[in-house]
Amino acid sequence: MNPITYVEAADVAGALGHQHISGRAFIAGGTNLIDLMKEQVMRPSTLVDINGLRLDTIEPSASGGLLLGATARNADTACHPLVRDGYPLLTAAILAGASPQIRNMASNGGNLLQRTRCHYFYDLATACNKRDPGSGCAAIGGLTRQHAILGASAHCIATHPSDMCVALAALEAVVHVRSGEGARQIAFADFHRLPEDHPERDTTLAPGELITHIELPPAAQFAAHSAYLKFRDRASYAFALVSVAAMLDVGDDGVVRDARLALGGVAHKPWRAPLAEAALIGRRAGPETFAHAAELLLSGARGQGDNDFKITMARRAVIRALEQALEGTHDNSHEFAGKEPL
């Protein structure tokens, strides 16, 4: 690690006050940033510790939803009664990611800002437009098992690694940020961006902006029908090859009143398609409807060679996740049960 200066901020104004320092980075959990600093992929000169900002609460929002503090830990968020009861999809997604140790450390804001785990991004000896803009992309034509099948560009085929963010995309969360200029809110769909010709920019966060909260809108209509399904190379503690967040609001007549679908592990951001969700609404819930939605969600998917299998896997995963959501609330206990051998 390079020499760094460390500052503890006492409040939001204090944290924002350091933005004139070049190479300033906020730190909360540090599970991704410190790792990237060891690898010299990220080289901040000053770390501003934001753990003292009292942004670690989880409380009801004015609009009947939930306000998740940016420095609340992933584990505390997943296991909070208000999250477990009202947003079981979020609990399932968080618990599907990382390890218990990392979930105890990692913050909610940091989860949104974690960087891709593309091998080439981490390897200083290879070209990477995300790490070193303009240097090229060694992943294209390289080992691409983990890489994107949707929304990639000629400059970057990296995927966003978060499980939590896939659920937040489906829940249409709102990111609250503060800067010297004031406060603003960013719709989750607009928070992460596609690589296009600027893969070095993961998000639409402006320099100097600090995430303070993540707001979950009310989602009671979906609480009885949701599933987070994750496929990976190991049974646990691995990044998603493909993951699906599915939520349904189904009437007694079996007709879908509302639906949300988001894919993880397949793009530079959690992937949603309005047409796929529209194709579910007003239709009878069942295999044909689900297969049609999966087709639309995967529309335009293109493999990189090693990851061609993801297209079929994602299509099947969407159908299965919707079937699970139709059955009820699918949480990780099913996964645990399935893992226990005879």
Binding site: M1, N2, P3, I4, T5, Y6, I27, G29, G30, T31, I34, D35, M37, K38, L47, D49, N51, A75, C79, A98, S99, P100, Q101, I102, N104, M105, A235, S236, Y237, N332, S333, E335, F336, A337, G338, K339, E340, P341, L342
Partner: protein, 185 residues
Amino acid sequence: MDDHLTVAPTGAAIGTYPVNLRINGQPHRFEVEAWVTLLDLLRERAGLTGSKKGCDHGQCGACTVLVGGKRINSCLTLAVMQNGKDITTVEGLADGTRLHPLQQAFIEHDAFQCGYCTPGQLCSAVGLMNEGEANTVAEVRELMSGNVCRCGAYPGIVAAVTEVMGLPERKDNPDRPYLPGTVPA
């Protein structure tokens, strides 16, 4: 890790920061550079080499310690960020010469071979018990997945942890589907 040898830019003084920690019940004071991880402080400044540096990237769990009773990867946090905290390492689990029940169970269940991952496994298991989220053998397996054992002592580790937690022994269940690709433990 040679990172400690990194030379500061010419003319820049390397600042150190006071870090007060309670480690295994004893107060300690250190003066450390900002980039020293908690793991490096424990091993190289506090002389507590029980916590192991396996991967140094949060992937293996050998560095697991308890901070305020919660398990974390000590390689992924800076010592300065833990100022004022209460740390428990594997050296602090036993009560004098009396082993922690988990340590005794690890011996009885043959839960290690080379032993390198064991300090992390033990601290992780204590954290698991503090969390209170594991109610079945399968949940113990899932919630211990942040600790890798290259000797493959998982069956013994799971048996030791579940015994100390008082969880019912796993019985064959014909209703439970076998999942191809899993390793029986």
